[in-house]
Symmetry: C2
Subunit: 478 residues, 2 copies
């Protein structure tokens, strides 16, 4: 059995906690693991890491790698050159698996779902494997616990007698209105469509060929060059041209080989801020509150604070999500409209609040932009023990470094020297330099940049232990 994790979130629904370059799956929303970490632990009893692929873009792959860095066996990363929705992603993954194991069964997961009862999930996947081996496309259906209008539904048809409680799918239902959702909820045979699928590699590729011939043809062209010198070039050329359609709409709703397995696993998509109500514990006032928050008389609210102070007074059914550089205040019932905010931000000339956080995590540590003004920018830089930034140079800025904890080894031009807490160093414009933490303790320093242009793309890299010399334009920071 193989697992494919779709991890291509766009970071809009949980903005400002999620960002374009830091979507929901990278966040700790429900506990002390991020969602991608939780997805990984969830399936690890069933599918070993070397049988797992993560399909995502290059930027998120870097972050996911960091979050999974404690694994001894690494999963395979499949990098989408562009986002083309789930049919193309599933097709690409299936086509790559076919090279390895023609008769394999693949399970498709989302990277950012909530599942309360993991054992129930695993039991269902065991069954799903058997049903998939019969040539079915299997979807897991969750018993609805409320008349949710934001989810799709699956109606059960004839039972598959050899594999109870599996059944053929009678029909798929798009997001219903409230009244119909209540009917489905009461019906007993209509389930939430979870987006967790299982099928044989050959079955899904056949069905793609039947219902999405254009996608099948594109995949065929990519397949022809897989493992050759042209692989990357072909993928870059063909993939962005593939039809952009969901696997549900493009294949599953049309196929007559669909089966569903009803599963009581406490599944939730948690697709927006108000959905946290269904999965996180509330206090006596019905509030979900984290962080530095003072509440005077608010009820039924979700208040996600951090280090900054947030005070809420007399609110009812409101979501407040606060980050260092942006605050969202949203009526719970309008939580879906958060994406409209992100659209507005994308269209603005200035500001990066839709794209990145003030703190950006890198393989070597992290940096936090503390302030940017005319002619200067201030960052706090944390370098992990033993880590080193690239040997680099900036054409348009100088950098002043003050160590506030730990020890830094600094390369500046021809000199290499060490500075300690309460010592500083200066890197003039145009001079090759490198920052390292040679110790076992984290290094923290304050960087004051001075210059006429302070964009992260003013960087020339000469050496980098994280392989960021090629295509450096994609890498926004040291």
């Amino acid at each position: 059995m193989y697992g494919v994790i779709l991890a291509g979130g766009s970071g809009t629904r949980f903005w400002p906690l999620s960002r374009e370059e830091y979507p929901k799956q990278l966040l700790k929303i429900f506990g002390n693991q991020t969602l991608i970490q939780a997805t990984f632990s969830r399936v690890s009893d069933l599918i070993p890491p070397e049988h797992l692929s993560i399909i995502t873009n290059a930027q998120q792959a870097e972050q996911i790698r960091l979050q999974l860095s404690s694994l001894t066996t690494k999963p395979l990363f499949i990098l989408e050159p562009a986002a083309r929705n789930t049919a193309a992603a599933v097709g690409l993954a299936a086509m790559m698996l076919r090279k390895k194991d023609q008769d394999g069964t693949m399970v498709v997961f989302s990277a950012d779902h909530y599942i309360r009862d993991n054992a129930a999930l695993l039991r269902s996947l065991h069954l799903a494997e058997k049903v998939a081996e019969k040539g079915y496309l299997v979807t897991l259906g969750a018993k609805p616990t409320r008349p949710e209008t934001a989810y799709g539904y699956t109606q059960e048809g004839k039972p598959l007698r050899d594999h109870p409680p599996a059944a053929v799918v009678q029909r798929f239902i798009e997001k219903p209105d409230r009244e119909r959702a209540e009917q489905y909820c009461a019906s007993g045979d209509t389930l939430w469509n979870t987006g967790i699928f299982a099928w044989r590699v050959s079955t899904i590729l056949e069905e793609i060929k039947s219902f999405l011939p254009e996608l099948a043809e594109g995949l065929r062209q990519i397949e022809a060059d897989l493992g050759t010198a042209k692989e990357e070039e072909t993928l870059q050329r063909i993939y962005p041209q593939l039809p952009s359609i969901s696997i549900d709409y493009g294949v599953l709703e049309k196929s007559d080989r669909m089966a569903v397995i009803p599963t009581d696993m406490g599944w939730d998509d948690v697709g927006s801020w108000n959905a946290l109500d269904h999965v996180l514990p509330r206090n006596d006032d019905g509030n979900i509150i984290t962080g530095n928050v003072v509440n005077v008389g608010s009820e039924q609210c979700v208040i996600y604070g951090g280090k900054r102070l947030v005070a809420v007074v007399g609110l009812q059914d409101v979501v407040v999500a606060d980050t260092e550089d942006a605050t969202l205040v949203c009526a719970k019932e309008k939580a879906q409209d958060v994406r409209e905010v992100v659209k507005v931000l994308k269209d603005r000339d200035n500001g990066d609040e839709h794209r990145v956080h003030r703190t950006v995590i890198r393989a070597w540590g992290s940096y936090t932009v503390l302030e940017e003004g005319k002619g200067y920018k201030i960052k706090r830089i944390v370098v992990n023990p033993g880590a080193k930034l690239s040997l680099q140079m900036h054409r348009k800025r100088s950098e002043h470094w003050v160590v506030v904890s730990g020890t830094a080894r600094v390369t500046c031009g021809e000199s290499v020297f060490t500075i300690q807490t309460n010592q500083s160093s200066f890197v003039p414009m145009g001079v090759k330099h490198r920052l390292e933490n040679p110790t076992e303790e984290p290094l923290q320093l304050i960087e004051v940049q001075c210059g006429t242009y302070l964009g992260e793309d003013d960087i020339t890299r000469y050496e980098d232990i994280y392989g960021r010399i090629k295509g450096s334009s994609k890498n926004r920071e040291a």
Copy 2:
């Protein structure tokens, strides 16, 4: 005619825009003047600055002086050693005026009211002076424009025939409930009590003697030492013991010498965030919005943003007030409860968000705390052209300075030197130092402090052009 401005706000009602050390009167809420500046311009046609006193505490006096620094003639500052409510403040001011002009008339203003029609105010004050000369205690009454339950009311009695439309006061009414407020609003003879008063110095002192003999006795003791070497010591000793009561409750509601002048001047107390609705223009959605705000579908809201991004989605009748270090989100109808938040903050062991802003304004410029962490603190410091900080020393911290615009003259131990943009300097712990801006352009620098204790009170001053050597414990910064 003399004016006394009561400027002792506690900064709770407009938190987080107002702070304990930066109350409402120091803010630009309605336009391009702060409220204290507006109060000054408002009365300057009638009362010259040298006839104006401002009664406030030392901390706020410093800020008010800065805001009024463009005036050629400075008002007199009367510093309250402690806040003892309005009866004591009015009594002290009256007693000081008696020294100057026994027969003078004094007008009492609040520093933080809104008045739309200034000409109407001045006309009423002209009349008030005449009525006061007859021995009345005069209060201006504003015609109610809505059934406000947060204000006190004054009912007109018998007209003063020689001075229309002045009348004797029939009675004072405490904050009414909604139903009674509606009756008063419709009655035609019941007015909002504005807290703008006029009376002869001798009259108010007589009435204080009648109704607040303990206050009168305390004032007498202070008066005895006024102008002597013991003045300050006596004030510090006696004033904090004076009865703490409002002039309204302690004197006016008991006196039978009260007159009221109905005035249609567009007065409002603007006592809390929701009251902005009555004085600021709304956009088509009924919102009042300033700053870096993205709104998707919110209506009837007050959104006070700044540089940070605030996004509001689908809100109704909510106030959002965002500052660098704290955000308030408040149901409009619960705006009075913002003071409860400030109470909670005062009781916390950590955090200064009730007391000061991240940016603190000083006579020499300003500083902004950008970040504080274990062992370090980062400030952006702006030094005005020609200004200089005190010659000072810190026992427990070093300071790294990086100039990001302008030129600094630095004294460090025995050396005096100049550093320019993109140059830095280091002040070791325990070394006397001074920072000056010798140029005509503002100087901006980033200070990284390193040390075990980083409180503003770790400062020993040796020379200071702003007179802050004495009682330096009161001055929290260089």
